[in-house]
């Protein structure tokens, strides 16, 4: 049990509980359905199945990349993990302890899990100076003001900003890249073990994006962090991740080591997503778009496999049966009937007799 005393001078990272083999974060059957209401009486007219029964682990010390298109539920997932949204069902387990209801309290949990958002401006309080923003959360956790401010200055240094110059400034006086550095420093102020990075570089220019990515990789070593890195940019995810999780319409499509997935995706959606990247070589341009149309509306997702309406390999069986995650290789799972032995799909492996 973690006890924070008022005498804690500087927060230290809390010790490992379950050992290196136990995942830092385990997600089991996490589901979030948003009811749609309309009319004067606010009658329910349907639900948006934003996240539908997803399960995965984040291992200690790794970077798990989470990719998907808009509406696939990746941001909802991050907010559910951060306990900013109440899940419809499912549980979040942090280093062997359930979060909430008799387990880890939210205050203890959020001390160890922090988040960086895409919009660097709206996630900072415009009326606090940079130094006060960073020192705020340690103050809440009982650190004396003076040591919190000293710590804030150290963190500013760590993210590459001069404390004397930037400490007294307000968010509107900074550029987008500088603000994102402040957000990272603020997230580190409680010495968390897990950082959820929700599109941290998507709003930045390319040259600034590279600076922030380098910084994130340095901080991971320096502070012994684990990252859940959410992005729609496949190149960035490949660059930072050890393992990758691909989501489509609220479900996990595929999860596995980054090189395995980028060299040979097992799910047709992942393959199409990877083929949609611009080629970066004018002499080898793409000739055909790998997929037609837009992702369907998550209000009424297709029955069975949710990708079947855009899939080149779809067969009748795909409409009846929602594919479970099946092994496609070492540490590699894909939710496709072509991977599941004996699923009834013509390209599925035969069941061993």
């Amino acid at each position: 049990m973690i006890v924070l005393t008022q005498t804690t001078e500087i927060l230290r990272q809390l010790p490992d509980v379950g050992g290196p083999a136990q995942p830092l974060l385990t997600i089991r059957g996490l589901t979030k359905h948003f009811p749609l209401r309309s009319g004067l009486l606010g009658r329910s007219t349907g639900v948006v199945q934003a996240v539908d029964d997803i399960s995965f682990d984040v291992r200690k010390g790794e970077t798990l990349g989470l990719v998907g298109e808009s509406g696939c539920g990746k941001s909802t997932t991050s907010r559910l993990i951060m306990a900013l949204l109440e899940p419809t069902s499912g549980e979040v387990i942090f280093d062997g302890q359930a979060v909430g209801y008799g387990g880890l309290t939210l205050k203890e949990y959020r001390r160890q899990v922090q988040m960086v958002f895409q919009d660097s401006y709206s996630s900072l309080n415009p009326r606090l100076t940079v130094r006060d923003s960073i020192a705020f959360a340690p103050g809440v956790h009982g650190v004396a003001r003076r040591s919190a401010v000293t710590r804030a200055d150290e963190l500013l240094e760590a993210v590459g900003l001069d404390p004397a110059q930037f400490g007294p400034r307000y968010p509107h006086e900074l550029s987008g890249g500088q603000r994102q550095r402040i957000n990272i420093a603020r997230a580190l102020a409680l010495q968390p073990r897990l950082l959820i990075l929700d599109e941290p570089v998507s709003a930045l220019d390319k040259s600034v994006e590279a600076q922030v990515l380098n910084l994130l990789l340095d901080l991971k070593d320096q502070f012994g962090l684990t990252y859940l890195f959410i992005s729609h940019d496949l190149n960035v995810v490949q660059y930072v991740s050890d393992r990758v999780l691909v989501m489509y319409l609220g479900r996990v499509a595929e999860i596995g080591p980054v090189d395995t997935i980028y060299n040979g995706a097992a799910h047709p959606y992942t393959a199409a997503l990877l083929d949609s990247r611009p080629s970066m070589d004018p002499d080898r341009r793409r000739l055909e778009p790998p997929l037609q149309g837009d992702p369907p509306n998550p209000v009424n997702p297709p029955s069975g496999c949710r990708f079947r309406t855009r899939c080149l390999h779809a067969e009748a069986v795909c409409a009846d049966k929602a594919p479970p995650l099946a092994p496609a290789g070492p540490e590699h799972l894909a939710a496709c009937l072509m991977v599941l032995p004996g699923s009834g799909h013509s390209q599925a492996p035969k069941l061993a007799a």
């Binding site: 220019d205 990789l217 778009p289």
Partner: protein
């Protein structure tokens, strides 16, 4: 033959009571008919302002625009607002990043296309309706007939962008301007729109100027690329040559800072610092404060465009100039 677009010494300043922003500080280029030019740059480099100048869309009361801008034989700097309205849509047309704000939310897609056609051509309602349907089919909108009666909010992001392209092409412009049209789209939809634009450009024989911050997009669509920094073209050249072997240190930095397949595990090269404030026009090379190769001569004057190989040019004093080296 006169080029489709002829721009010389274009300067754009935004003047308000408090400050003056020097957004574009002398841009020269020509665009041949049927050619695709990509203007590549980061936010604040002046790429969108340059593009808007080709349609004179910058706010008239704040904007001071000087230089020569000719599009399809029309002088865009001096022409009256009245004749400008005829040029916009029929000679030059534009698509934007955010279709939801570019389309009118209270009219159907069909009405917005018909309105554009009938503004420029004397044509009956029925013929305009038929043309609108053809246009939606041209931009590959499925069940086009039904979509004519749809309002913008009823369409998905990709379809909305296609509808905006249909409106822009409704009067067969000679020049299409595209301001980051795929930035707000998902990866699988972005490639569809890029390939569609490439096909339409070839089929209709348009010139296209495409503004983007994404090197991958430029590699897919451009014939020529111009890299913009602090309101100037700092490098210009054919897309393959420029992407394989950029001349200007800023262009080199931009390529090195871009994350692409195969850089995993390596440290990204970054450009230190931030772009200059354009409240003052930089006297020397605008990139000098961030450049690793800076020398006193860089700060003395704005480097002239030097051309080491025909067709390529860069504004850097370290780049050998073909004309000079042959004379020596």
């Amino acid at each position: 033959m006169e080029p489709l677009v002829h721009v010389r010494d274009l300067k754009v300043r935004f003047v308000s009571r408090d400050s003056t922003v020097h957004a574009v500080n002398g841009v020269d280029f020509d665009l041949a008919p049927r050619e695709t030019l990509c203007i590549l740059g980061e936010s604040g480099s002046g790429k969108s302002v340059t593009l808007r100048s080709l349609m004179r869309l910058n706010p008239p009361r704040l904007t001071k625009m000087t230089g020569t801008v000719r599009v399809g034989g029309h002088d865009l700097v001096t022409t009256s607002e009245r004749s400008l309205a005829d040029i916009r849509g029929s000679v030059v047309s534009m698509i934007f990043q955010e279709p939801m704000t570019a389309l009118d939310p209270v009219f159907t897609i069909g009405m917005q296309i018909r309105e554009t056609i009938r503004r420029h051509e004397t044509i009956s309602r029925e013929d305009a309706e038929r043309r609108a349907l053809e246009l939606l089919e041209l931009v590959q909108i499925p069940s086009a007939k039904r979509r004519l009666a749809a309002y913008p909010h009823e369409l998905s992001g990709g379809l909305r962008q296609r509808a905006m392209i249909a409106i822009a092409l409704s009067c067969r412009p000679k020049l299409l301007l595209a301001d980051e049209p795929t930035t707000a789209l998902d990866a699988t939809v972005q490639i569809q729109i890029l390939l569609l634009l490439r096909k339409l450009q070839q089929d209709m024989g348009m010139g296209v100027i495409f503004v983007t911050h994404d090197l991958g997009v430029a590699a897919e669509i451009a014939d020529r690329v111009a890299v913009m920094y602090a309101g100037r073209f700092i490098e210009e050249g054919p897309v393959s040559a420029l992407m394989r072997d950029p001349l200007h240190p800023y262009a080199q930095g931009l390529l090195g800072a871009t994350v692409h397949g195969g850089v995993r595990g390596k440290r990204l090269t970054t450009i230190p610092g931030a772009p200059p404030n354009l409240a003052q026009v930089p006297t020397g090379c605008a990139f000098a404060p961030r450049c690793a190769y800076v020398e006193p001569a860089c700060l003395a004057a704005v480097p002239a465009a030097r051309s080491p190989i025909p067709g390529r040019a860069a504004r850097c004093i370290r780049v050998p100039d073909h004309a000079v080296s042959t004379a020596a």
